[in-house]
Symmetry: C2
Subunit: 134 residues, 2 copies
């Protein structure tokens, strides 16, 4: 089993990481995710790392990369279920996960994504209003 | 990473199987799932096996067991994302997954679960109506 499945749930994609993200797998996950975001026009990506207990600088960078790529494709990324030990390690490694949103669990992450997408839609409306007034 | 994470999504639980379900892991998944169904009062369990390409009779039995246990605890089980090769193997092994609902992907599985829970609620209402008329 070489691929991490990406599940489509409404306007969002859900990825659960259960195996060690060695280099090749992480890069293929990156590529698959970006493809899926484009294919499904997803507005958000949820990455569940509750099963991840060991993290290294490579994995920390991967989350940042995925968030950056998805952002360009107009999708927000939320990492959920991080174990306290992983948070400690990430900060000690000097990887504060800038640009990545986090939430305690999938439900809270889903709420966060929904609110972000709502805000985006609202600000788009505001933009339209501005255009109308000009 | 020894545990398969169980994600709570509203009234349902979601499990993505990405690793080979060897005996001990499968039994601990069974136990964890039943505990979570009780703890969260979940109405349904979604098991995504899109990453599973090889299945044996043990794994086939595990799905049946989980569905049976969840049913007793008043939760429906839907297995989603089965690869055609897995379906072929299961039938050839003489395991038609009786008692287990299946759907093509997570979204369809979620819809199936929602409809099943709705029907349950409706039939409960009917029961109440009957009681009223008697």
């Amino acid at each position: 089993m070489e691929k991490i499945p990406i599940l489509k749930m409404g306007p969002f994609l859900l990825v659960t990481i259960q195996v060690d993200l060695y280099d090749r797998l992480a890069l293929s996950l990156e590529a698959d995710l970006v493809q899926m975001v484009k294919k499904t026009a997803a507005k958000g990506v949820l990455i569940d790392i509750s099963a991840v207990s060991i993290v290294d600088s490579f994995m920390g960078r991967i989350f940042g990369n995925i968030a950056g790529m998805c952002k360009i494709l107009d999708a927000e990324t939320v990492v959920v279920g991080m174990q306290p030990a992983v948070a400690i390690t990430l900060i000690e490694l000097g990887l504060p996960l800038t640009g990545v949103h986090t939430a305690l669990d999938v439900e809270k992450g889903m709420k966060l994504l929904t609110s972000k997408v709502d805000i985006d839609i609202e600000s788009d409306d505001d933009l339209d209003d501005d255009h109308n007034t000009i």
